[in-house]
C-alpha cells in the first residue's frame, strides 16, 4: 500500500442490507415524527405570525381596529385575503367607521451593527409619517434601541412630512436625520445624540421606502378599501 496508514483489518461487516434497512427504518420513523409535528404546529405558527404582524400594525396605527392586506407591485395595488399576509407589502388600517386611518409599510436600512427593519405608518390624508416600530434590529441595547423609546425622537413623527412633489413621482423633500437639536424643517428627523447612526438608519429606511412606494400608492389610493365581510 502506498498509504502510510497501517492497514487495520476492518471488523467483518454485517450484510449491507441490514445496515440499509436499519438506516431506512430510523429515517422513516424520524420523517414521520417530523411530519406529524409539522402538521400539528403549522396552523398555530401561521396564526402566531399573523398575530405578530397585526400587533405591529395596530401599534403603529393605534386608531385602527381592522387591517387589510394589499400587494403593491408593478404599479398595481391588489387586495389580498387575510391568509395571504405573507405576500403583502402594504397594510391598510381602518377605524370602527371603516375609515382609512393610515397605511403601514416596511422599510430597511443599514444601522450600526446590522440591517434595521421597521414598519412605519403613513397617513395619506396628512401626507406624513405617523410613527414606526422596529421589526428587527441588532443595535446596541441601551443605545440603538432608543429609537423606539426616546420621547424626543418619537416626537419627530407627529407627523413627519413626507409630501410628494408636484408631479407626484417622488418625495418633495428627502427625509434626513440631522444632529440632535438642529431640526428646522418638518421633513427632518432630530437624531438621538449617541445614536446618530441608528437614527440615520431609520431616516434612510423611511426615505427609501417612501420614495419607492408612495408615488404608486397615492396614485392608487382609491383601491384602499376596508375588507368586506369583517365586522
Amino acid at each position: 500500500m502506498s498509504d502510510e496508514t497501517p492497514n487495520v483489518t476492518a471488523p467483518a461487516l454485517p450484510s449491507s442490507r441490514k445496515l440499509i434497512t436499519a438506516l431506512a427504518a430510523i429515517a422513516m420513523i424520524s420523517g414521520l415524527l417530523v411530519a406529524v409535528t409539522f402538521q400539528v404546529t403549522a396552523p398555530v405558527i401561521k396564526k402566531n405570525q399573523q398575530e405578530a404582524l397585526e400587533r405591529a400594525i395596530f401599534q403603529v396605527l393605534p386608531e385602527a381596529t381592522v387591517a387589510a392586506n394589499f400587494q403593491l407591485e408593478g404599479g398595481q395595488l391588489t387586495a389580498l385575503t387575510a391568509e395571504q399576509f405573507a405576500d403583502a407589502n402594504v397594510f391598510a388600517g381602518f377605524n370602527a367607521e371603516n375609515q382609512l386611518v393610515g397605511v403601514a409599510m416596511e422599510g430597511a436600512a443599514r444601522g450600526y451593527q446590522d440591517v434595521v427593519r421597521i414598519l412605519y405608518a403613513y397617513d395619506p390624508a396628512q401626507e406624513g409619517i405617523l410613527g414606526f416600530t422596529v421589526l428587527q434590529s441588532s443595535e446596541t441595547p441601551g443605545i440603538g434601541d432608543k429609537v423606539e423609546t426616546d420621547d424626543a425622537f418619537l416626537a419627530n413623527f407627529n407627523p413627519l412630512d413626507a409630501r410628494l412633489n408636484e408631479a407626484g413621482d417622488a418625495l418633495a423633500n428627502p427625509i434626513i436625520t440631522v444632529k440632535n437639536g438642529r431640526k428646522v424643517n418638518p421633513w427632518e428627523i432630530d437624531g438621538i445624540s449617541g445614536a446618530t447612526i441608528t437614527s440615520t438608519a431609520v431616516a434612510n429606511a423611511l426615505n427609501e421606502s417612501a420614495a419607492t412606494m408612495l408615488p404608486t400608492l397615492m396614485a392608487n389610493q382609491d383601491a384602499l378599501v376596508a375588507p368586506k365581510g369583517t365586522d
Partner: protein
Amino acid sequence: MATDPRAPEPLSLATFTQGIWKENPVFVMLLGLCPVLAVTNTATNALAMGLATLFVLLCSGVLVSLLRKVIPKQVRIACYIIIIATFVTIVDYAIQAISLDLHRALGAFIQLIVVNCVILGRAESYASKNTVINAFVNALGMGVGFTLALLCLGVVREILGFGTLFAIELFGASFQPWAVFALPPGGFFALAGWLFLFAYIRKRRAAAQSEETHVA
C-alpha cells in the same frame, strides 16, 4: 454487548448528579459552548434554550437506548444524528408555536442543538450502552446541569446587561445597565468569570483540606 469494554452502569444517585456538578457539560467539560454564549443574554432565553436541550437530550437518550440493540455499529452515528435532528425539528416547531418572539430571540441556535456536542456525546458514550432508565436519568442530569449553567450565565448577563431578571425590572429606571454583558464580549467574560470563580473555590477548598490533613 460482549465487545463493549464498559458494562452497563447500575442506577445510582450519581447517574443523575454527575451531569450537574462533577461532569457539568459547560463548566467542566466545556461542551456545547456556542448556545451557552449565544443565547444567554437574558435569563428567559437561557431557560428556554436549556429546556429545549433538555428535551432533546431526554428523547434522544431514551430512543437511542431503546434501539441500542437494533442499530448496527457501523451506522450508529448516522442514526443518532437523524434521531437527534428529528427531536430538534420538533422542538423548533414547538417553540415557534408557543412564542414567535422567543423563537426569534433564540434564532438558529435551536436548530443548532443538532450539532451540540453534549447530545451526541451522551448518545454515543452513555445511552448506547445503558438501559433506558439509566439513559433517562443520566440525560435528565446532564440536561439539568446544562440548563443550570445556562441560567448561571443568563442571570448574570441579564441583571448586569439590562437591570432586569426574567424581564422584571429590578433596580428602577435610573439604574445604568452595563450593556457589554448583553453583547458578545460579555458572554465570554461572564463564562470566563464563572470558570475563574470555580477554580478559585476549588483552590481554596484544596488549601483548606491540605491544612486539615496537616493538622491531623
